[in-house]
């Protein structure tokens, strides 16, 4: 039993700390979200904060994807088929004005598997599970930290994936002056072999 314990622990820990074996990939981010508050999205009851209303971007205001980089003559598609990892996506913002709440979300299995068909899908036992996307918070909005160092996990997916839509919602307090602001939104992807 003791040997079994040691083997089990070693196996699990090797999955956690074997990131150096993971192939390099590229995070692709497209789309420049534009949040324009319409007069219909403004609070109408005097005394109430405008943050209680909020307004959304298009569902695909930004799209992200992550694929493995080609190596010599081996294409990204083939590498993604043969090397399936778990990817966790974190999001944070920088320079958002004070008294603004920025939220983001995606939906279950949004985006497109890359490649769409893979040998991995036919395996009886898939080490990391199906090549699916699981949004954090059940697909409901998550507050994006306006913090240059801290990011919150918005989703995770198994295997390479493209065109994952991200929708945003802004809850602007009345304390934030009217005007036009630029907000930098950062996306960080971590790859792992963790179960």
């Amino acid at each position: 039993m003791k040997n079994l314990f040691i083997i089990t622990v070693s196996f699990l820990l090797s999955f956690s700390y074997s990131q150096a074996q993971i192939l390099a990939g590229t995070l692709n981010v497209t789309g420049m979200p534009s949040f324009t508050q319409s007069v219909n999205a403004v609070v109408v009851e005097a005394g109430i904060d405008d943050a209680t209303v909020g307004f959304e971007s298009n569902f695909d205001a930004t799209k992200i994807g992550f694929v493995l980089d080609p190596i010599l003559l081996v294409s990204s598609s083939l590498l993604c088929e043969q090397n399936v990892y778990r990817y966790s996506v974190y999001i944070n913002s920088v320079n958002a004005p004070a008294n603004i709440i920025l939220e983001a979300k995606t939906t279950v299995n949004s985006g497109i598997r890359f490649p769409t068909v893979s040998i991995y899908d036919t395996l009886l036992i898939k080490p990391l599970g199906q090549r699916n996307l699981t949004p954090s918070n059940g697909g409901n909005y998550i507050v994006v930290p306006n913090n240059p160092t801290q990011a919150v996990k918005i989703m995770e997916f198994i295997g390479c994936r493209k065109d994952i839509p991200i929708q945003f919602r802004i809850k602007p307090s009345s304390l934030c002056p009217a005007g036009i602001y630029n907000i930098e939104i950062n996306y960080t992807v971590i790859a792992s072999l963790t179960l």
């Binding site: 039993m1 003791k2 079994l4 314990f5 622990v9 699990l12 820990l13 150096a20 390099a24 990939g25 995070l27 692709n28 981010v29 789309g31 420049m32 979200p33 534009s34 949040f35 324009t36 508050q37 319409s38 609070v43 109408v44 009851e45 005097a46 005394g47 109430i48 904060d49 405008d50 205001a61 966790s88 974190y90 920088v94 958002a96 954090s136 801290q150 990011a151 919150v152 996990k153 995770e156 602007p172 009345s174 304390l175 002056p177 009217a178 005007g179 036009i180 602001y181 630029n182 907000i183 930098e184 939104i185 996306y187 960080t188 992807v189 971590i190 790859a191 792992s192 963790t194 179960l195």
Partner: protein, 195 residues
């Protein structure tokens, strides 16, 4: 160690690996994403509308009635008001204000029609309270004799909101001096304006 201890230890390790996924990530530590991960950013533009809405609570039943008590009228005696002077302390002023170009605002008060001779209408802010609001009180505490000329009721203030309903915002006292029991013209209104 007993076998059960090994099993518990293995389960604990499994939970550490599977359940211990961090929701928050320090994105300044490049080792978090350098092996197989990535980091990108995009920019969003945010455009917010200015807001200036004001409300006299209770709403919509904020009509103030003064007058003679018909049950006390007696033929042959003078028809007088309730002591000639009546007050109402039950009106609360709520507002939500989002500045444009950081410009402060004021709240003005006036009547929409000329106050008949023989009647004196006064208004005074007697207190400021915040329940669920966010504002810095800056009222003109002196009684104001109302006329069609706008006068400052609330001095300069920045973006904020008072909270909604009775008991929050600015509590007004309206006094009617009406020694002769005159009537106000039909459609007479007290107008509050935020600008």
């Amino acid at each position: 160690m007993k076998n059960t201890d090994y099993i518990l230890a293995a389960l604990f390790t499994l939970c550490f690996v599977v359940c211990g996924a961090q929701e928050i990530l320090n994105v300044t530590i490049s080792s978090n994403f350098i092996f197989g991960g990535g980091q990108q950013s995009n920019f969003a533009t945010l455009s917010l509308q200015p807001i200036a809405i004001i409300d006299a609570e209770p709403d919509p039943s904020n009509t103030i009635s003064f007058g003679l008590n018909s049950s006390t009228l007696e033929a042959g005696l003078p028809a007088t008001g309730i002591g000639g002077i009546a007050t109402n302390d039950n009106i609360w002023l709520n507002y939500t204000y989002r500045a444009s170009n950081l410009a402060n605002a004021k709240i003005y008060v006036r009547t929409n029609q000329i106050v008949p001779a023989g009647i004196v209408l006064k208004i005074q802010v007697i207190t400021a309270t915040s329940i669920g609001g966010s504002f810095i009180a800056n009222q003109n505490s002196s009684p104001i004799t109302l006329s069609t000329t706008e006068q400052i009721l609330i001095n300069s203030f920045a973006s904020g909101y008072t909270g909604n309903g009775l008991g929050t915002g600015y509590n007004l006292r309206i006094t009617v001096e009406n020694q002769s029991g005159l009537s106000l013209p039909s459609g007479f209104e007290i107008i509050y304006e935020i600008k």
